[in-house]
Symmetry: C2
Subunit: 356 residues, 2 copies
Amino acid sequence: MVSRSARTTGVRTLMIVASLAPFAGLAQVSGPLTIKEQGSFFVGGEHRTISAPATGVIPAQSGEITVNQMYVQYQIPLKGTRHVPIVFVHGCCLSSKTWETTPDGRMGWSEYFVRKDRSVYLADQVSRARSGFDPTTFNAVHTGKLASAQMPGILDATHQFAWTVFRFGPKFGEGFKDEQFPIEAVEELYKQMIPDLNSTLSQNPNPTLTQMAALAVKLHGVILVGHSESGFFPEQAALLDPTGVKGLVTIEVQCDTHLTAAQLAALAKIPTLIMFGDHLADVKAPFSWTDALTSCNTFVDQLKTAGGDATMMYLPAMGIKGNSHMLMQDKNSNQLADLVIGWIDKHVESRGRNRK
Amino acid sequence: MVSRSARTTGVRTLMIVASLAPFAGLAQVSGPLTIKEQGSFFVGGEHRTISAPATGVIPAQSGEITVNQMYVQYQIPLKGTRHVPIVFVHGCCLSSKTWETTPDGRMGWSEYFVRKDRSVYLADQVSRARSGFDPTTFNAVHTGKLASAQMPGILDATHQFAWTVFRFGPKFGEGFKDEQFPIEAVEELYKQMIPDLNSTLSQNPNPTLTQMAALAVKLHGVILVGHSESGFFPEQAALLDPTGVKGLVTIEVQCDTHLTAAQLAALAKIPTLIMFGDHLADVKAPFSWTDALTSCNTFVDQLKTAGGDATMMYLPAMGIKGNSHMLMQDKNSNQLADLVIGWIDKHVESRGRNRK
């Protein structure tokens, strides 16, 4: 299974290392982990009536399917009730795998936060991974009921795109000298990159935002964490319903600097952390990472003007160099997790909103 | 989020119960669980070259994507190394959610087996859930490069189909009097039902089979468990490469009774368990569950004739009544898990193949 990748990309050494990576983690965990409770469930979901879906073992049928549900997997550590739970939402073309075992087999943020006594909820975005998606339009095109132009495109990212946009190096296959992403295991990241069907969703609002806000209410207060495509989802979910949102963590996204005064006033009531990695100006992405940082600096200023508690962690400015866009998978991922946890302790839980 | 379902199906009481179900589990765990190690990784995966995929934030591009990888999530309990690990593979239109928290909020087989000191590996089938799928053909139709007829249909199952084929009752919305499936929480099962893209895969062989066999080798011996669509996958994977396959568990599927003598001789070396629930003749499915049972009885006889150790657990014949097709989610799911574990202890681990 290694050889084809190796032949294709011409980086045989990298591929062989990557093939071992999933099991390298076996020796790297830091002792047994005791869980108070774990499991999975869905938030939301609506009925949709369909007729004559695709064939297969299932004959043509009419009836209902469920769409727009959001799958959530969770672990509550023994001391979890002492802290505000954390909801992680992944970015474009990825799933909750983002937060699990890193490409090079180290512990991901999901387990690391649990080991730091935080209850962790991993949400697969609506229309992605275990949340499923609505196939109705595709099947209508398949059966000739709809023209192919009416079918949404499926967003997919190539290895080449990821290497550049995730800022692994100046050109494909070449890493930055101080690169923190474990590029020797990049093939394992490529396996995490899956089709993004958000184009099939209503954007008014995207149901993921609705379910994030509902999850926050059901859990009686959470910190919402978004990354990249979902980087501003925490803020958008809080604008739909701030009731359960006790903290906002936004990682590497273009911030919306055109919110109304009323929206900014609402968000200013919630502590907000924004984090950006390194090499923003060192890649030729189809958009500007530097502009994204600028937009988020502006957003932080807007929140502060509105009386909010907003923090920008631009890592290079803090002396932390070489971080990629996938900073939760970078070699210093635990260090960055500690920064987030420290911020939570100081800015969210010190406000007396913790669940002791 | 409840009201729409309730209006649509006219079973308001059921829906209200279902909406609480994900949190009912909070009080039902049987004490803290200590994990030696947990995480996730992929098995397999190949590069595929694409050009000009769907638009969105990502511009038209050429390059490579990774396809046919299989996502696996695992937990190893403290005493896990004393037993042969278990790999669970879900059925049609479902994901590994099948094995997790049940629709009515009880512990699923995945955690139950871990609590019984078994290492558990949950695999999302290739082209499903966190394994992703190959969107190339869909995007080629979207952009007009391919005719819509060349696009595969996406397999989807309605609530009505599931109620009948999963044998919840004689007609939609009505349960069998002794029904073991928690039909008061059926809405939570419907949320697990997601599009099945196996039609996009090579069937020669289905890459899931290849990855299952490879996973068995990498883990130095496993028991493969399949259900429904994947019910015969354990046998098929073992026929590709029996090296790592120490036991086969097949739950509710049409068995292949046309294997060659050589194939039967190969499978006869591996202990095999087949399990069927109740009410096989009591629903009007598009295929016959009774025929499926008959085929598997024949298969068991064929294995025995070839010198194999094959066991049929037809639950009603054992005095266990009312089980549905989703028997791992039925109210007596722990009892059924104990049957599987007892069989493993007696038929697999007593052979000296355990990992003590």
